[in-house]
Amino acid sequence: MEKREEHPVAMNAFELISMSKGLNLGNLFDEQAFKRETRFTSKCPANEIINKIEEAAKPLGFDVHKKNYKMRLENVKAGRKGNLNVATQVFQVAPSLHMVEVRKAKGDTLEFHKFYKNLSTCLEDVVWKTEEDMQQVK
């Protein structure tokens, strides 16, 4: 069992800033919301977040590799563009607030989108605000 670091990486101000929509020019290319990465915030402890994601991903047919507060989820079955490979990372924004980034590392974007939808239904009690929620606020 690998020893885990005390806390996830404390979010650097610039790390936070670089997540703002206005600085993500990928939006110029995306017609629809089939983005390659998304994020949500959580008020749960980081360890709990990691465990819940693992619990949710395994029954969906994904292999889980963890290292500190980063995870790699790989679909055992190959999809349209190979095995879907998803990277997640937990950041600490404030002592009781974490930001979880979920991004497609390899594979089909549509499959990633479907996977994330399934994952989020399993993570309902972990997620505080989804990216959509965050976008709703003016």
């Binding site: 404390a10 979010m11 610039f14 790390e15 997540m19 929509k21 206005g22 990928g26």
Partner: protein, 226 residues
């Protein structure tokens, strides 16, 4: 001479639209994709595909071959009602000719910096200028706070001022090695080399696939990529 004609054409753009479409294309900057290809990280076919994207964005509100601030916001946020400190900064940095409008050349040259193959020094320079809101040659604590507050407001996250100050404290502790309350270019460079993820938004994987995202460029293509 070409510049005069360009200016003239721009002023007369409603008239020009009545003319040959070829003429119109030339006036808005795809005279010579080879030149842009040579001076950016893009291949000729990628420049042509990028031009398809440019046409789409620049015709959204006023079909004049230029991207104005509103069209830029529309493309970025899918709504033109959104004011954004960051979109403004990005637009200003793209607008190297300071005309308030983006021509294709400015668009292509700026996006070249975001290509995964572009030089990291260019990305470091661009991002520094992005965050140097007042363009004083250094990033002040006040500017960082302004940007953090703007990002939080945009994402609906409410953090107390104490928490925000502590995030910035930690950031400056690490970044401000000269302890002068500011982050200069050298300090920024050093910070970013230690934390490459800070340049994450300076890399657009989409630019690698641009010829497949905008395949219609083949209809106008003049060159076969080698």
């Amino acid at each position: 001479m070409l510049q005069c004609i360009d200016g003239f054409k721009h002023l007369c753009s409603p008239l020009v639209r009545c003319f040959d479409i070829e003429l119109y294309n030339e006036s808005t900057g795809l005279d010579d994709p080879e030149i842009l290809a040579r001076e950016t990280v893009f291949s000729v076919n990628e420049i042509e595909a990028l031009y398809e994207l440019f046409k789409k964005i620049s015709s959204a509100v006023i079909d004049d071959g230029w991207i104005n601030k509103e069209e830029f916001q529309l493309a970025l946020f899918k709504t033109n009602k959104k004011e954004s400190l960051f979109a403004d900064r990005v637009f200003d940095l793209f607008d190297t000719k300071h005309t308030g409008l983006l021509g294709f050349e400015e668009f292509a040259r700026a996006l070249s910096v975001f290509h995964p193959n572009a030089r990291i020094d260019d990305k470091i320079e661009f991002s520094f200028q992005l965050y140097d809101l007042k363009q004083q040659g250094f990033i002040e604590r006040q500017e960082v706070k302004q940007m953090v507050v703007a990002t939080l407001a945009e994402s609906g996250m409410n953090l107390s001022d104490d928490v925000i100050e502590s995030i910035i404290d930690k950031t400056f502790e690490e970044a401000d090695t000269k302890h002068d309350g500011k982050i200069d270019k050298e300090e920024w460079r050093s910070l970013v080399l230690r934390h490459p993820s800070l340049l994450k938004n300076m890399n657009l994987q989409y630019l690698r696939d641009i010829t497949t995202t905008f395949p219609s460029f083949v209809f106008h293509s003049r060159v076969e990529d080698g």
